[in-house]
Every structure is written in C-alpha cells, then in structure tokens.
C-alpha cells in the first residue's frame, strides 16, 4: 500500500477575524513524505492552518500548493486529502465497512474493488473482521482506527490529522502515537498532524512547527526544538523547564549575586532567561568545575512512578519567588539519599546543559 506523496508549500498565509490575527503571514515548506506536526497551545492558530490546508477555511491571502498545483481556490472535495477529525466524525448511520468504503463509493470504484480496499485499510489499522459492526458498538480507540482507515482507503497523497488522539486515555494514546508513526512510515504519505501535546509532537514527528498567536515560532526536528528552543515561549512550552531570569553584562552572566556560565557565551548584553530542564538538573553533594550551582529549600518531593520530582525554592530575586524543578530517576542512589522536605539542597546544572533564551 505504498503511495506516492506530495510536498506542501504554504506561502504568506494570513487570516484574521475582526481584529484577531488567527494566522499571521505563515510560510512553511513541508517535504514529500514528511511527518510534520503543528504544535501550539489552544487558540494558537494551528487548527486554522490545518483547516486552510483542508479547504474548510479560506485565508484572507496566501498560497497553498500541493506539489506544483495551487489549491487555495479549490473546494475541499476536490483536494484529494485524507483527513482525521478530533471527534472522529464517523457517519453514525453507516456500518464500519460503509464508513470506510464511503470515499470509494464516491469515486465510482467497483463493488469488488471497494470491498478489497476496505479490507486492506481495515487490516492496516488492525480492525480485521469488524467491518459489519455499527459505529456505536466500537470503543474510542476502535473508532479512531475506523476514522483513520476511512482517510487512507483511497490512498490520498496527503493526510491531515486534527488532534486525533486527544479523546483517548493516556495509555492508549501513547500506543496509538507509535502505531500512527509506523503507519506513516509504511504508507509514506505526507502527514500534517495538529496537537497541543508537546510530548506527542516530540514522539511522532520528523519536524515540528511551533505556532503561537498565529505566528510561526520555530521550525525544526524534535531534537532541535527540545535542545535549542529559540525563545522563552518554546523553552517553556516544550518540556517542563524552569526559567530563571538572568542579566548579561559584558559577557558576564549573573543570576542575582551568583555568576553563571553557559555552553555558548551570550552574544549581547541584556535580560535573558536561563533554561533548566528538570532531567538535566541534579542534586549535588560536592562542587566541581564546569557546573552551575543553585541552593535553595526543598519545597516538595513528589513520587511520580518512573521518577521523583523535586520542587526547590531559590532565594527570591527582585521580590519574585524563583523555583527550580528537578527530576531524579527512580531507584537511583540520589533518590535513596534525598533530604526531607524543608531542608536546604544544592542543585547542579552542567555548563554544557546551560543555555539562555530571550
């Protein structure tokens, strides 16, 4: 079931509702066969962008090309895309088979061929033999699979997904993330995936486009986005970082009275934020070179299964409370020796793991 896929080229797309800029001059190249995730908080414009690709929302201006073909003026039913909706949008008056066969029926595909492609699609999403069921007899996860089968049965070159896993419970969601990714690799269609769940985006994507306030904030691989967030919004949104205010004066970085070193020296003076990833920070016993140290009071220590989350209260800066989150792996020596809540602890962060965002 290999497909030829298409690249998507989005140029200068803007859309406003009254004074509200839902999309602000977005340009984005999605390469053929890529798994691209549009990531952002709710109201960021990510779904609007997906709806522009699908043809359900007309932007004020801009261009969308599938391959070399301009599609911005085409109605949705002529765009030939597969789409999976957040609430599945299965047809309740049709059986599973009829749902999946619907696009084939519209295309005038013969009965025998439809039957064959429906079975193939159902088997791709691991729902063999459930064709005769009614949609209401299925669990949430199964409905999601039917929606997926329906979107891929006619072998579209582009697959759009609008938060398809948000209604599933955590365990099923995580299983489906891996399955969807495998499916994408097997079918090789260009996939645009919308989510507000940063972990989901990191798990599944080839590249991630972070969108906020209708603007494109950063575009990169999950690794790049996680390691080098280009601004404070992304550093805060991706992962569960603590952001500490620092000031830079002649390449000298200071956090209150303390001096801090970073992996790469700052290019200019001014106010910045130090990003502390909780899994990079650690509880220090003695001091070494090449590590930044912060001392504070252990405010909370929460057991979370695979790890223990420490919340450390640092000395307030300019009247504002500063807290650091530190993740300690379960079963580690550090966890065994954790001080009780209320004690003073010293937290270390390697210079190599220290970086600033504006």
């Amino acid at each position: 079931m290999k497909n030829t896929s298409l690249n998507i080229s989005i140029k200068n797309v803007s859309k406003s509702y009254d004074q509200f800029h839902a999309l602000n001059d977005i340009s984005l190249e999605i390469t053929s066969g890529e798994f691209m995730t549009l990531l952002g908080p709710s109201g960021s414009g990510k779904t609007t962008l997906l709806m522009v690709l699908a043809g359900f929302t007309n932007p004020d201006c801009g261009s969308v090309k599938f391959g070399n073909e301009e599609v911005i003026l085409k109605p949705p039913h002529l765009r030939g895309i597969g789409m999976v909706f957040q609430n599945y949008a299965l047809f309740p008056h049709m059986s599973v088979e009829q749902n999946v066969g619907y696009p084939q029926k519209l295309r005038g595909v013969s009965k025998a061929e439809t039957q064959e492609s429906v079975e193939e699609a159902l088997s791709t999403v691991k729902l063999d033999g459930l064709g005769h069921r009614g949609v209401h007899e299925l669990s949430g996860g199964q409905r999601q699979r039917v929606a997926l089968a329906r979107a891929i049965v006619f072998k579209p070159k582009i697959l759009l997904m609008d938060e398809p896993l948000s209604a599933l419970d955590k365990k099923l969601r995580e299983e489906m993330q891996i399955e969807l990714r495998q499916l994408h690799d097997a079918l090789n269609m260009t996939t645009v995936y919308v989510t507000h769940d940063q972990k989901e985006a990191l798990t599944m994507s080839d590249r991630i486009t972070v969108i906020n306030d209708g603007k494109l904030m950063q575009l990169g691989t999950p690794n790049e986005i996680y390691k080098n967030p280009s601004n404070a919004f992304i550093a805060d949104f991706i992962g569960e970082s603590s952001l500490l205010p620092v000031s830079v004066n002649k390449s000298q970085i200071s956090f209150g009275p303390e001096t801090i070193k970073t992996a790469s020296p700052p290019a200019q003076d001014g106010k910045f934020l130090l990003v502390v990833r909780p899994e990079k920070a650690f509880v220090a016993t003695d001091k070494e070179e090449g590590v930044n140290y912060f001392s504070g009071v252990l405010l909370d220590s929460i057991f979370q299964g695979e790890s223990q989350l420490l919340v450390v209260k640092l000395a307030p800066l300019d009247g504002e409370a500063q807290t650091l989150r530190v993740r300690v792996p379960n079963g580690s020596i550090t966890q065994e020796a954790l001080p009780p809540v209320g004690e003073t602890v010293t937290i270390g962060l390697k210079v190599a793991d220290s970086y600033l965002v504006s």
């Binding site: 043809g55 039913h77 895309i81 789409m83 309740p92 619907y102 979107a151 006619f154």
Partner: protein, 294 residues
Amino acid sequence: MSATSDHLNQDGLKKLAARESLTFLGLTLPYLLMVALLIVIPVGWLFYLSFIGRDGTFSFENYERMVTSRSYMRIFITTFKISILTTIICTLIGYPLAYFMSQLSRKWANICMVGVLIPFWTSLLVRTYAWLVLLQKKGLLNNIALDLGLISEPIKIVHNTTGTLIGMVHIMLPFLILPLYANMRAIDKDCLKAASSLGATPTRAFWTVFFPLSLPGLFAGLLIVFVLCLGFYVTPAILGGGRVIMAAMKISSNIELYFSWGAASALGVVLLIVTAIILYIASKLVSLDQFGNK
C-alpha cells in the same frame, strides 16, 4: 443474605433505597391518578358507549354504519386526505427552513426560532379567523391580486379544501420544525466536513450524510403533525365552511345535532385505534433513537 458484620450498614442502605423508590412513587402518583381519571376511565366509558345502540341495548350498529354508510366512508377519506396533504406540505416548507436554521449561528437561529414560535403561542382560534379574513372573497389576498391585475375576479380560496390546507399547514408547521430543528442541530458538523474531505460534493454530502441523519427528527415531526391532523376540529370547521368534513367534526355533529353518543363514541374509538396503529407501525419502521448515544 443476612446482615452480618461482613455487610456493613446493609440494612441502612436498603432502607435508603426503599425510601428513594417511595419518593419517586410519590412524585409520579398525581400524574398516574390523572391518567387513570381523565384518560383510562373516560376512554373505557366511550368504548362501552360505542356498543350501545339506539334502543339502549348492546349492538354493533354504530360500527356497522361506518362500514356501510357512504357518508362515513367519505369522512374517513377526507380526514386522511387532509392529514396526508398537510403533512406533505409541512415537510416541503418545514424541512428547508429547519435546515437553513440549523446552519445559522446560534444567535440568528434563535431569532428565526422566535419567528416560528410567535404564531405557535398565538391562540389557534385567532389565527384561524385571521386566515378567514385574509382569504375570503373580499379579503386582503384577493384585493391585492385584483389590484395588481393578477386575477380578473376574486378566486375561491376559503370555505374549501384549499383554505383548510392553508390554515392547517400554518398551524402544524411548528410541530414539524421543532423536533426537526433540534435533530439537525445535533448532527455533528464535522461529519459533513469529513464527507467533503473524502470527496463528496456539497449535494452528495447532503443526501448521503445530512439527510439520513435528519430522518429521526423528520419522522418525529411527521408523526406529530399527522396524528394531530387526524383529530383536528377548529380549523377545518371554520376554513372548510362545512364542505370539508373531518372525523372530529362528525363526532361533534353526532352529539350536538343527533344526540347520538353511541355513534360519536364509535367514531372516536376508531380514530383512537387508527392513531395507535399508525404510531405502532411508525415505531417499528424507525426506532426514533437509533442514532442516539452519540
């Protein structure tokens, strides 16, 4: 199971459950009594009366007359004809309107809904007489048409089937629109988007997805309109001008003119049974909640 120490508070919890059942019984009792007093007993009495002949003894003469008399046959035909036509016209007008309203934003849909409901809240008699004023020979409609030169002499649009239909459609329309609109509102708009993304033209998406999903609401509306039409009295009596005789009017004349409670009762019983049969068949054809549990 006995109440041992293993079953903590079992007796107390049982009492709570019993008290809850009692509360529900208490709440429904007034209604049950009302149904018994105002429906079951009178209908039973009607049923009994329908088997009492002119001479006061048990007989089937009231029912025999219905089968043998041509005038009764004509009344049944008229009743069904008017009811079916009203239902069809209501559907032709109401379905597009309900569809239009369901596609509007909530604000505009509510404004339209007020337009549907204002006549609904106005007295039936007032509306029927208003139609009489509008439709009569020297009424507003004929005058305007004459002035515009559309017609050369007044046309007869009241005191006949046409007038009856106009009045009845107007009165029945909200009964069709209300359940239909509620049903259409509940149809997931993403289903139509999905159909469209899968390649359906707007027309195709409407007929393959929206229309089938609106059927439960349509059937509910049709059924209410049809059943109400079967027993309708005021509007056909006034706008029909004595030329359109429906079952309810015959019942009334049996009592008021001929003092024949037996004949009236028999007609009432037949009407009731026909309605019950229609409801039963309809419930078998479409289970109205077949798309529930969304």
